[in-house]
């Protein structure tokens, strides 16, 4: 009897752990369900085409315009420019940490990157507002320092830690036999890094870059505070923009409950959610399909 009851307990606890482990999946489903139930009603007012490709976002005027194309372009351009800065910076830092730095230097620089990742986004946004914006305004003689370039710069420093730490893991896990073989054939350490180590860890580095961009496109406080807030398609990097998350965060408080504006903001949330979901699926696919399993994968 005793044995069977303890066995029962074992079995029972196994199920308990399993059910708790499915919480994350359940929450993700709930997020999807609630976004769609609150967001889809806007499609009764505007067509999906007019919503996504509409050029005007005037949610509070009468009649209201719900076109998020300028917001989408704002998000994409901010993410793209931040990627131009963060990808080389993040990957080069990762190479330095994984391949060049001595053990002691690494023990110092790695925590620095982690601390950079832990800075609250509102603080980085605040920093961009009070220090970077006036600096840009004076240096480049532009109308406002709160613009796309400023936001991209701040976002870049928020995605560098993601890119750097995942790339570093990938570089670090390249078998040393590969590097030794390359060195033994007469390649310099640099040639080994460029022709052997980086190609061998390319899937990890790609995952890192995609996740870093995903973080940049979803980041809210920075674009809310420093991007300038103008809902128009940018034509220069010093134009103010209003990315998707900024629009949601700035307007949700004053949108009447279950009014058109409220539904339109949830629908904007759906678009943002789909962007990051796609980024993550691609990253997941790459890391799953091309994962490094020893020398055999090369």
């Amino acid at each position: 009897m005793i044995i069977s009851s303890s066995k029962l307990k074992e079995q029972f606890m196994r199920y308990v752990f399993f059910i708790i482990a499915t919480t994350s999946v359940a929450v993700l489903l709930m997020i999807t369900i609630f976004l769609f139930t609150e967001g889809l009603p806007i499609l009764k007012k505007v067509s999906i085409r007019a919503f996504i490709f509409g050029d005007y976002w005037y949610p509070t005027s009468d009649p209201a315009d719900f076109g998020i194309f300028p917001l989408i372009m704002g998000s994409l351009s901010v993410t793209f420019i931040s990627a131009i800065i963060s990808i080389p910076l993040g990957v080069m830092t990762a190479i330095y940490l994984a391949e060049i730095a001595s053990f002691r230097v690494r023990e110092i620089v790695k925590p620095v990157v982690e601390l950079l990742a832990s800075l609250p986004s509102v603080v980085i946004g605040f920093f961009g507002m009070v220090l970077v914006a006036p600096f840009l305004q004076e240096t480049f003689g532009i109308a406002t320092g709160l613009n796309m370039f400023n936001a991209s710069l701040m976002l870049a420093f928020m995605s560098v830690p993601t890119i750097c730490s995942i790339s570093e893991d990938a570089l670090y896990s390249v078998p040393s036999s590969l590097k030794e073989a390359s060195l033994a054939l007469g390649a310099t350490p640099l040639e080994t890094i460029i022709r052997v180590t980086i190609p061998a860890s390319l899937s990890g580095i790609s995952t890192a870059i995609i996740l870093g961009m995903s973080r940049a496109i979803g980041e809210t406080m920075v674009v809310l505070m420093v991007a300038g807030g103008a809902a128009m398609v940018p034509s220069s990097i010093f134009d103010p923009v209003r990315p998707l998350p900024a629009s949601i965060a700035a307007e949700m408080a004053e949108a009447p409950y279950r009014g058109d504006h409220y539904h339109a903001l949830f629908a904007t949330g759906i678009v943002l959610f789909i962007f990051t979901f796609l980024f993550n699926l691609i990253a997941d696919h790459i890391s799953y399909k091309y994962r490094q399993v020893g020398d055999a994968t090369l």
């Binding site: 074992e10 196994r14 308990v16 752990f17 399993f18 708790i20 482990a21 499915t22 919480t23 994350s24 999946v25 929450v27 993700l28 709930m30 609630f34 976004l35 139930t37 080389p88 910076l89 080069m92 830092t93 190479i95 330095y96 940490l97 060049i100 730095a101 620095v112 601390l115 832990s118 800075l119 609250p120 986004s121 509102v122 603080v123 605040f126 920093f127 507002m129 009070v130 220090l131 420093f157 560098v160 750097c164 310099t188 350490p189 640099l190 979803g218 980041e219 406080m221 505070m225 949601i248 965060a249 949700m252 408080a253 959610f273 990051t276 980024f279 993550n280 699926l281 990253a283 997941d284």
Partner: protein
């Protein structure tokens, strides 16, 4: 010779990239310290805001942020640790595991403002919690779940299999092995993850904007159904809203410095704890 110069140049470039990160961190921290230092006083830390938030302190914000961060960890920690135990100790390779992993990875990538929307629609409106500490803590808990699962799993992986085998070999059941051998051995690593979870929850703004935080609340919270002020939201409000943006600058710097101190302090503790652990593991 040319190869050597190329190499030197590139290595210098890589080193410079690493240096830029360190410089960025140093500049941000120095800037906040230099400007915020003057604003911080005993009064600033222990008084509520006064004169429509142009004077006074930030006590309600500090208390609000502590409530939210602790509340979220109380909810997320047990769920995260149990999830990680399933993933690392029980789960067999297969479709269920793949789906759960995909769920966790995608949850980690959900933008913070989308968590805010979800918290508003589900906790605040659907479950009728209203704008409250409870709704905010739940939203933050959901958001920090992947952080806790990730670091707990790492801690569990670091426990050598010989521990498990020895315990099972002595006749302990799997559950006993997990509870009495694996978890105690992994506990410092798991706690490190908990600290990182708290610090993430304390610094977030977007998830609490619609679910917990208000511009101003004259009273300290008395129940979990009260709305509250919070440090990150207070910084945002002071820096962007109202006619007094320039006059409240010192308050903004001061609040930002307190928030940075709180968050970086917890992170530094976590980093030191982990460094010690790794050294111990190596021996």
């Amino acid at each position: 010779m040319k190869r050597k110069i190329t190499q030197q140049t590139f290595f210098l470039l890589f080193r410079f990239a690493a240096f830029i990160n360190a410089a960025a961190l140093a500049i941000i921290i120095y800037f906040m310290l230099a400007n915020g230092w003057k604003a911080i006083s005993w009064e600033f830390l222990t008084k509520p805001p006064m004169d429509s938030m142009t004077k006074g302190g930030i006590l309600p914000c500090i208390i609000g942020t502590l409530c939210l961060a602790l509340g979220s960890i109380v909810i997320a920690f047990p769920i995260g640790v149990a999830s990680a135990i399933y993933l690392n100790e029980y789960a067999a390779k297969g479709r269920a595991l793949r789906i759960i992993r995909l769920g966790i990875n995608n949850l980690a990538g959900v933008p913070s403002v989308v968590f805010g929307l979800f918290g508003l629609a589900f906790f605040v409106i659907y479950l009728k919690m209203g704008v409250s500490i409870l709704a905010g803590a739940l939203t933050l808990a959901v958001m920090s779940l992947p952080v806790i699962i990730g670091s707990t799993e790492e801690a569990l992986k670091a426990v050598p299999d010989t521990y498990r085998e020895a315990s099972l070999g002595l006749g302990a059941t799997k559950l006993q092995t997990i509870m009495r051998v694996v978890l105690p051995a992994a506990m410092p690593g798991i706690l490190t993850g908990g600290i990182l979870g708290i610090s993430r929850a304390a610094g977030e703004t977007a998830p609490i904007m619609f679910t917990a935080a208000v511009y101003f609340s004259p009273n300290l919270p008395t129940s979990i159904f009260d709305e509250i002020m919070a440090l990150p939201y207070h910084i945002y409000v002071l820096a962007t809203a109202g006619a007094e943006i320039e006059t409240t600058r010192p308050l903004q710097y001061g609040t930002a410095l307190v928030l940075i101190g709180l968050v970086l302090g917890m992170n530094i503790i976590a980093i030191i704890m982990r460094a010690r652990l790794r050294r111990k593991m190596r021996q």
